[in-house]
């Protein structure tokens, strides 16, 4: 379990302190996952038709090691699309918790940072144990990127990737075709190494030199300046004509929220026996509907603007982190072809 109290802001991230470097081969990695699977449920990337998705794995043979990124982000294993919170039985109420121990392999740095970005939201004020139980009971083995996953990715600009600089228990960084560097980021991560020592090899001096090269390699095609964007957003809120223009092709589908590794807005709904939490989307008209049927963000452009301001301004001002990790999914999968990166760059340039 990684230290949750230290969220992954640049300031508090446990920065590259001197750690012993280990290596592991692909074969040994599968053996490691197989042995971890005995006491934990294993979540890993698997093939689903032609897509790669995260799922619970029974046989490590199904684990896909070579992939760019999953279509859906990793957040659904921490805030499921539908999650039962309370159970009603004959007038009595019981809270539902899962104390399942899990190992999550293959989470990419952008999705990892997405979790770190939403941590303070669930922590501030009254801590949400339904979320943090899952965070605490899950050992995260992150997988750093060395190849571009999507031409719309801008994880370098969002300071999330391609190699994570914290928030993981273990991070694997590909070294050649058959090996990974292993970085430990927490006590739980160090325990995995010490309990499975025979599977790991010590990294040599030349390997460590290679590692620095890999970490410094730039792979993104797109660049943005999120801090500049934040500054420029300050005077633009009431420019309604602009927000109307850029949101013109928005289909109000919510795909940008659902595929975002850091969007966490949810709604509580009852059925006869349970109260459950399910994803919501700030792009939906009913998102702000109030009892008197008053809808403060009735017009589409106000919802579109809300999403950008929450991601790039308010969350950063409140928690010190942008609520965007540069995965590029919202640009790639937007059916209205809204060019979020161009919007960020254009506003920044003005």
């Amino acid at each position: 379990m990684q230290s949750i109290s230290k969220s992954c802001t640049k300031e508090s991230c446990p920065k590259k302190t001197k750690k012993k470097m280990n290596k592991i081969t692909k074969n040994d990695l599968l053996k490691l996952l197989d042995s971890l699977k005995n006491k934990n449920r294993l979540i890993a990337p698997v093939m689903a038709e032609k897509d790669i998705v995260f799922d619970y794995v029974n046989d490590v043979k199904d684990v896909v090691l070579d992939f760019t990124n999953t279509v859906k982000p990793a957040k659904e294993f921490f805030i499921p699309q539908r999650e039962d919170i309370l159970e009603f039985n004959n007038g009595k109420i019981k809270a539902i918790f899962s104390d399942e121990k899990r190992v999550f392999f293959g989470i990419r740095p952008c999705d990892l940072k997405g979790l770190c970005v939403m941590d303070p939201t669930f922590k501030e004020g009254i801590e949400d144990p339904h979320y943090f139980e899952k965070r605490k009971n899950t050992v995260i083995i992150a997988l750093a990127c060395i190849n571009l996953c999507d031409e719309n990715a801008f994880c370098e600009s969002a300071k999330a990737g391609p190699v994570a600089d914290g928030c993981f228990d273990l991070q694997l960084i590909p070294l050649g075709k058959n090996e990974y560097f292993v970085e430990s980021g927490s006590k739980a991560g160090a325990d995995v190494i010490s309990k499975n020592k025979p599977l790991f090899k010590k990294a040599g001096k030349s390997d460590i030199k290679n590692l620095e090269e890999i970490k410094n390699k730039k792979i993104n095609k797109k660049k943005v300046d999120l801090d500049l964007f934040l500054e420029k957003l300050k005077g633009r809120f009431n420019n309604n004509a602009y927000w109307k223009e850029v949101s013109l092709t928005c289909l109000r589908c919510g795909a940008c929220n659902y595929l975002c590794p850091s969007c966490f807005c949810n709604n509580m709904v009852d059925n006869t026996s349970k109260r459950y939490r399910c994803w919501d989307s700030c792009m939906f008209r009913g998102f702000t509907r109030q009892a008197a049927n008053l809808i403060p963000r009735d017009e589409l452009y106000t919802r579109f603007r809300q999403r950008l301001y929450h991601k790039y301004k308010w969350h950063k001002e409140r928690y010190g982190m942008h609520m965007c990790t540069g995965c590029g999914r919202c640009v790639t999968y937007c059916p209205g072809l809204i060019p979020y990166i161009d919007i960020i760059n254009k506003v920044s340039e003005e």
Binding site: N271, R275, A291
Partner: protein, 223 residues
């Protein structure tokens, strides 16, 4: 482990019909909270929603609920003795300490008065520590007025307590109250310049006042 979503199950002690679609519920529950804070009230299997307390801390909890959707309709069907779920308190509160010694202006519209009750009651518990109280209240028509007893009989008889009630539309001449118009408009007429120096005001308006573009600031209320 305790879930913050797990509510307490409490009994309804008393129900008062305020208007055709507003009821005040008194619960067998004495929570500690600050005026202005809200609670999540619900019925298992239907849902829960936030309601502001209309009572003071440590006394029997009261809240006024307008029948307006699925949950509030179900709550309105309950009788005294039935059970509700409640959790809280949540949210911010009025600065009770900071406003000591000051004159106070309360502006409420429609169902927006009960949320102010909590502060008014708290102030009345320590009456000598606060200055003059003025309450402006507006409702659609006379039938929609809540807290009649307080507005008509209790508060106006108190020392240093002024109540101005108005309605948007008046059906019969001569009935109470005597002011016709939106609460923001009546304030413009009624407020004397000296009041404008007041520093601490609390208001809670219903949607219609905003809808009609009556910005309370422009109409003479200032925060």
């Amino acid at each position: 482990m305790k879930s913050p979503y797990l509510p307490e199950i409490v009994r309804i002690k008393k129900i008062k019909q305020e208007t055709e679609d507003i009821k005040t519920f008194m619960l067998d529950y004495k929570p500690v909270f600050k005026p202005g804070q809200f609670f999540e009230i619900g019925i298992n299997g239907i849902g829960e929603a936030p309601f502001t307390a209309a009572s003071a801390s440590k006394e029997n909890f009261q809240t006024s609920i307008k029948r307006t959707g699925k949950l509030t309709e179900a709550i309105h069907k309950l009788k005294a003795g039935s059970k509700l779920t409640i959790r809280g308190p949540y949210g911010n509160s009025f600065p009770v300490e900071r406003i000591k010694g000051k004159n106070m202006l309360f502006i409420g519209g429609g169902i927006g008065l009960p949320p102010l009750h909590s502060l008014i009651r708290t102030v009345l518990e320590n009456r000598d520590k606060y200055g003059k109280i003025t309450v402006f209240y507006g409702a659609r028509d006379e039938a929609q007025i809540v807290s009649r007893e307080e507005l008509k009989n209790i508060w106006p008889r108190m020392k240093n307590f002024r109540v101005v009630v108005c309605v948007d539309f008046k059906k019969n001449k001569g009935e109470w109250p005597h002011n016709v118009g939106l609460v923001t408009g009546i304030m413009e007429k009624e407020l004397k310049p000296i009041h404008k120096k007041q520093k601490h005001n609390c208001f809670c308006l219903r949607a219609a006042n905003y809808d009609k573009g009556r910005n309370p600031k422009a109409a003479g209320a200032w925060l």
